[in-house]
């Protein structure tokens, strides 16, 4: 077995630089803060620039289907940068999760996604883990009826991809948002605001049947890419705090010279390095279609979910009072991190799946399933 490369390739470094430059240029923290008061004007132009100008929308779509044919490694690099900027764009929900759910279906939505002219969202609650059955709606004669709550990416989407219960299994229907009631809900993380969706005999187009594996693959890749996003969040928190404590002076000396704080930041650094390794491994395993990909994802998802929360909590505490204010961006990362911890499977769910996969079952019997 060749060892997977856990470093960033030159291509990935270039991609990172491009994305980072664009975000530094176009997105200030105050624009994200404004979203908490309902001002979402930043989203559309920023996403258009990333999706179309940089071509990120079609990053994961095979060239044959009109995309870039890049791998999870590159997508992960993008996610890291989006996390680092707390960027309010639907890359994860549209270009990763929705895209993987429909790739290979031959449906026209794939080409539209590849071109970045359509943005989509898989209509499942954002908390859904890749391991269990997903909530499904009902379809009759080409129309879909039902509701789904707390969907991420729906507010930015043109098309909703609806998991539908058919006689022979799960199907995916594409429903234009114009045919759905999409109600924005106040969300813990307004940089990825959720929505409740209601469909009442909404006309839909059947994208694919036998879709359980596709949905599972989509959510699994989502969890793996979210881990890289969480690494980005954690890296920002570490770097921002180090910078702040190097400058901030109290008791006549830089606050960053106090040993207790230094040790906490050093601990955090060790964790960020570890998280980076797990997220890189998950991305590399998915990119290589490695048999260890599911294990790798569960490791990265459970580790990085908690890492980002810890990093953001430490960042806030070590910033002191200023970290509690609306003006300072640290809260944007705390909210992003805490919401991401609950998204696409809670760390405990990932560890539970891992226990099955690596033969460390909870139960005293060896009857199989661990919960």
């Amino acid at each position: 077995m060749t060892e997977l490369n856990l470093l960033y390739t030159d291509v990935e470094d270039d991609l990172r630089r491009t994305v980072r430059d664009l975000l530094e240029d176009r997105l200030g923290p105050s624009a994200v803060t404004a979203m908490y008061d309902g001002d979402r004007t930043i989203v559309e132009p920023l996403w258009r620039a990333l999706a179309q100008n940089l071509g990120l929308a079609g990053l994961l779509i095979p060239e044959a289907e009109g995309g870039f044919g890049a791998s999870a490694r590159e997508a992960a690099t993008v996610c890291e940068e989006l996390g680092r900027a707390a960027a309010p764009v639907p890359f994860l929900t549209s270009a990763v999760v929705a895209t993987i759910a429909v790739t290979g279906s031959g449906h026209q939505v794939v080409a539209e996604l590849a071109a970045g002219v359509t943005t989509a969202a898989l209509a499942v609650p954002f908390a859904t883990a890749p391991y269990g059955p997903v909530p499904r709606l009902a379809a009759t004669e080409g129309t879909v009826t039902g509701s789904v709550s707390s969907v991420a990416g729906a507010l930015e989407a043109d098309v909703l991809l609806i998991p539908v219960d058919e006689a022979d299994g799960l199907a995916i229907y594409a429903v234009p948002v114009s045919e759905a009631i999409v109600a924005a809900v106040p969300s813990l993380d307004m940089s990825r605001q959720l929505a409740d969706i209601v469909l009442d005999a909404a006309p839909g187009s059947r994208v694919r049947g036998d879709a359980a594996a596709s949905v599972r693959a989509a959510l699994l890749a989502g969890a793996a890419m979210l881990a890289s996003e969480q690494v980005g969040v954690a890296s920002w928190c570490l770097a921002g705090t180090v910078d702040y404590l190097r400058e901030r002076r109290q008791f006549g000396r830089p606050v960053g010279s106090f040993q207790a704080l230094k040790h906490r930041l050093a601990d955090l650094y060790v964790s960020v390095e570890s998280g980076t390794a797990t997220a890189r491994y998950a991305a590399a395993a998915l990119a290589a279609d490695d048999s260890d990909a599911e294990v790798a994802t569960a490791i990265a998802a459970s580790y990085c979910s908690n890492l980002a929360v810890t990093a953001a909590e430490e960042a806030l505490q070590l910033h002191g009072g200023i970290g509690m204010t609306w003006e300072h961006p640290v809260h944007l990362y705390l909210k992003r991190a805490k919401a991401a911890q609950l998204a696409l499977g809670h760390p405990g769910e990932h560890r539970g799946r891992l226990a099955d996969l690596v033969d460390l079952p909870y139960e005293a019997t060896d009857a199989g399933k661990s919960r």
Binding site: S187, G252, Q317, G323
Partner: protein
């Protein structure tokens, strides 16, 4: 002869007499409160003539209970926390007779609400690094600077203020303590929004604010000593009576666990039980501390309680969101509000999670409290201090 019971009985009689003479239902609210103050039933441990009777502080509880029973109006203590808890004891300790005459009664009756102008953006945990300047101009002081984290500034008539009167001596030596009129035209109050979306606190900008020298508390240059008296009052307040099991955040989470059988998972249960046990441990530690104080074995252990409280509130509110899953991803309301009190239990779980982050920062960060425990309780040596003997002006900012 049990003199303690004796005193309590006499006090009870006094209340009975007072209530007979002042019908709590028909008397004007402010008149009633003024009369209660004048009768020495405001804070019985204060001296006679100053709203008290010179008795033991623990006798206050029975007096308050009697008045509450009788349906008497209270002085809205939660609206004037700074005044009652911090300004009053500091006034009592350092105030001149004139100052006591002027300020104590309207403070206690709530006719004048007080706020605190200590914290500054540049100071943080280094409380003595106050940069707000007060310059003497005849019988007045002219004050310029900026304060922050001021609760109730928008409602307050008066403030306790710490300002630098001499920048040419070391940090702690150049401060003076004032009573500042919040209606001065040089005062501007701006709400400071917090990560919860709310604005509990304010920034206060002082521009050419004039304070008569008669409103100086303590000597010029003794502000740090006076401020410490105030701050010690803040930390001593460990709170009154017994606290039942599953009070506060642990109760919220336990209730949520009981109500959501479908969300139960072994990893969450493990953490729930650990935090439940720790919450009980903290509750029992508080109970033990109260018992110690009651028999006169006080100490700086209040710092330890605050550390535990902040840690538990934060970990439990974080767990609550994890327990709720999808519901935890939603928030109740981001609208800017200006509440006068924190409503931990009335708001949603996301609010609790965010607001609890402040518990380890406000009123002394957990890091400062750990220093206090290490040095004052355990007797470990202090950090090397580079700012002790340097004039404030020369300290790098």
């Amino acid at each position: 002869m049990n003199t303690q019971t004796d005193v309590a009985d006499k006090l009870s009689e006094k209340v009975t007499t007072f209530l007979a003479e002042h019908d709590p239902v028909t008397t004007d609210r402010v008149e009633f409160l003024r009369a209660r103050f004048d009768a020495g039933l405001a804070w019985v441990h204060f001296p006679i003539g100053r709203g008290g009777l010179g008795l033991a502080p623990d006798l206050q509880q029975q007096v308050d209970a009697r008045f509450a029973e009788a349906g008497a109006p209270d002085n809205h203590p939660r609206i004037n926390v700074i005044g009652l808890g911090m300004a009053a004891p500091t006034l009592m300790a350092y105030g001149t007779e004139d100052q006591l005459d002027t300020f104590l009664r309207p403070l206690w009756t709530g006719e004048q609400v007080w706020c605190q102008l200590f914290s500054e953006p540049g100071a943080g945990s280094d409380l003595a690094a106050v940069a707000t300047r007060a310059v003497r101009d005849g019988e007045q002081w002219v004050v310029d600077g900026q304060k922050v984290w001021t609760s109730s500034a928008q409602n307050a008539q008066l403030a306790i203020l710490l300002a630098r009167t001499d920048p040419d001596v070391p940090k702690h030596a150049g401060l003076t303590y004032f009573i500042c009129d919040m209606t001065d035209p040089g005062i501007e109050v701006r709400p400071l929004r917090q990560i919860t979306g709310e604005s509990e606190f304010n920034e206060v900008f002082l521009t050419g604010v004039r304070i008569p020298d008669s409103q100086r508390l303590g000597a010029v240059g003794e502000g740090w000593k006076v401020a410490n008296a105030t701050l010690n009052n803040e930390r001593v307040a460990i709170g009154g009576g017994p606290v039942p099991r599953e009070s506060g955040m642990v109760g919220v989470v336990a209730k949520s666990w009981r109500a959501n059988p479908a969300r139960r998972r072994p990893d969450l249960h493990g953490r729930l039980m650990e935090l439940w046990v720790e919450s009980e441990a903290a509750r029992l530690t508080g109970q033990r501390l109260r018992q110690k104080l009651a028999v006169g074995q006080p100490g700086p252990e209040g710092a330890a309680m605050k550390l535990s409280f902040a840690r538990l509130a934060q970990r439990l509110s974080g767990l609550e969101l994890e327990l709720l899953g999808e519901e935890g991803l939603r928030y109740d309301d981001w609208t800017l509000r200006r509440p006068l009190e924190v409503d931990f239990l009335g708001r949603g779980p996301g609010y609790r999670y965010l607001r609890a982050k402040g518990n380890s920062i406000e009123g002394g960060t957990s890091e400062i409290l750990l220093n206090i425990v290490a040095e004052r309780v355990l007797g470990l040596p202090p950090e090397h201090r580079v700012d002790r003997d340097v004039p404030f002006r020369e300290l790098a900012k």
